[in-house]
């Protein structure tokens, strides 16, 4: 029954209009970054043609020109800012709607509460992760068509934005494709969990727009709390805000596995408890 329920939920999550709209929106935003990167790269090629010096071929590569690899274009800035919304829009609202229209009662009566809530969690998680990562993957592949995948060199670390203390920096300078894929996995997991916040928000609020937007405001508030933590200008802090550490290149402080895993664990536990324990115990009839 669980398998069937998961199948139904996944079909509903991945074959709905909002999922496609989110992917389209995400891809359009990353296109802004793509156009900017191509313009910069072509300008560099032009400059190289007219100079006899070092062509500095390792300076520009796909790894520091795709949306996740740079932190200064409008497209990239917008994309990572609205990432929580992009994660929640595809299917984060579904539980809220199903609760109101009575679908929950029917599904729980047929397949059991545990089955329904677990399959819903899995579907929301996957839709959130995919909704956020597909545009990034699209941008990376598109940028690869135009800019060579030269191995980045630490000599140009200021252009790459990946420094000695950065997360997985050794991987970035040795197997950059793996670095990109690993970062996409981190984004996938985190965005899945962010979408699950939306799912859990439906336990408290009745409006689906509110459930979709709430995770973004929570992350924004958490981002603001950095002001109380990062008080010294001499200490090298680790990035605690998902709005920054979900970017493969550091925008402020460097990311760390300890922070990422701890926050993911907290999010997972909290969303699981709310959806599988708290919500399951509630009367649905």
């Amino acid at each position: 029954m669980l398998k069937r329920m998961i199948g139904i939920e996944l079909r509903k999550a991945l074959k709905n209009k909002l999922f496609y709209i989110t992917i389209l929106l995400g891809c359009s935003i990353t296109m802004l970054s793509f156009v900017n990167s191509i313009a910069i790269y072509q300008n560099e090629l032009l400059m190289q043609e007219h100079s006899a010096g070092n062509p500095m071929q390792a300076l520009s590569n796909v790894f520091n020109n795709w949306s996740g690899g740079e932190t200064f274009s409008l497209g990239s800035s917008i994309y990572f800012f609205v990432l929580p919304l992009l994660a929640a829009i595809p299917y984060g609202w579904s539980y809220c709607e199903e609760k109101q229209c009575g679908y929950v009662r029917m599904a729980a009566a047929r397949g059991g509460k545990t089955c329904y809530y677990l399959s819903k969690y899995i579907a929301v998680f996957l839709s959130g992760g995919l909704g956020a990562v597909i545009p990034l993957l699209f941008n990376f592949l598109l940028t690869s068509l135009f800019i060579p995948a030269t191995l980045p060199t630490p000599v140009y670390c200021t252009s790459n934005g990946v420094f000695f203390s950065s997360l997985m920096s050794s991987l970035y300078y040795t197997v950059p494709v793996l670095y990109v894929l690993l970062y996409l996995c981190i984004d996938f997991v985190f965005c899945g969990l962010i979408a699950c916040i939306s799912y859990c928000a439906a336990s408290l609020v009745r409006h689906r727009s509110v459930t979709v937007i709430l995770p973004m405001l929570l992350l924004l508030s958490f981002h603001y709390s950095r002001q109380f933590i990062y008080t010294s200008s001499t200490i090298r802090y680790k990035e605690i805000s998902p709005m920054y550490f979900l970017r493969p290149v550091a925008a402020a402080y460097t990311a760390s596995w300890a922070v990422i895993l701890a926050e993911a664990a907290v999010l997972f536990t909290a969303t699981m408890v709310v959806s599988m324990v708290w919500e399951r115990k509630h009367e649905i009839y």
């Binding site: 935003i29 200064f72 934005g161 409006h207 727009s209 405001l217 924004l220 603001y224 109380f228």
Partner: protein, 280 residues
Amino acid sequence: MRFIKDLVFDFRQGILRSGTLLLVPAVIAAVTFFDFYAKARRYLEQGMIQSTVDYGDYWFYLYGGMCEYIPSPDNPFQFPAVWTLIFLVLPFIILNYPFRDMYGVGQQILVRSGRRSLWWLSKCCWNFCGTVLYHLIIQAAGLVLSLVFEVEISNRIHMDFINLVFNIRYQEVWNPSSLPVAALLLPVLVSAAINMLQMTVSLFIRPMFGFFSVAVLLLASAYLLSPLLIGNYAMAFRYDWVLKAGVSMEAGMRIAVILLLLAALTGLVRFWLYDILESE
């Protein structure tokens, strides 16, 4: 008479009975004030600023936004957290009320109001007053906290503190010493225009996408110093009395009022044709 009844109903339901609209700005004011106060004390203890800060500095801390961003690989874009929080929380709070009123029991009110235009105008007035109230609560709470923590109440600003807080390095700035009245009003007016725009946009697309477009607009405004992006007029640091290449406050006033009226009118026309039954 019917319009007054609608308006009173909206004020009661959408403002006075809206706990979030009354509570959230007070919480924001309290949290940002403690952050501001702690920073000011730290800078003073470390000898980085010469004198104590005033209420004007707190106001600037809230509505300053950020200086002009110059894109480069070694200068990552960091959005202004305080400013974004203030201007993005409000659209979220007021997002649902008009649409909640269109469905279910709310439809009775729409029917009883007799004319769609009166209903919409009442919502526009509610939106504007809600926005003004939100900013008033933030500033009033800031004033009370300033009195409690013995921060002088004046419109003076200290550029040494502001330069430190906003991390000003290369930008050419004037050295103003006090806040002009127009600067105090403009962010509120821009906020009202943005909220009205969101309410109208939400009639064309879903409310969540209305919020999405406001979020993109605010971020784009922070990223790009341009007179065409209205968010620039909500950032005190982008005004031409602070930043030499800044935007004109006078133009900001005009643009905000035009956008406010245009959004309300477009919404009115759209609402005449809006199929409430189908949307439900």
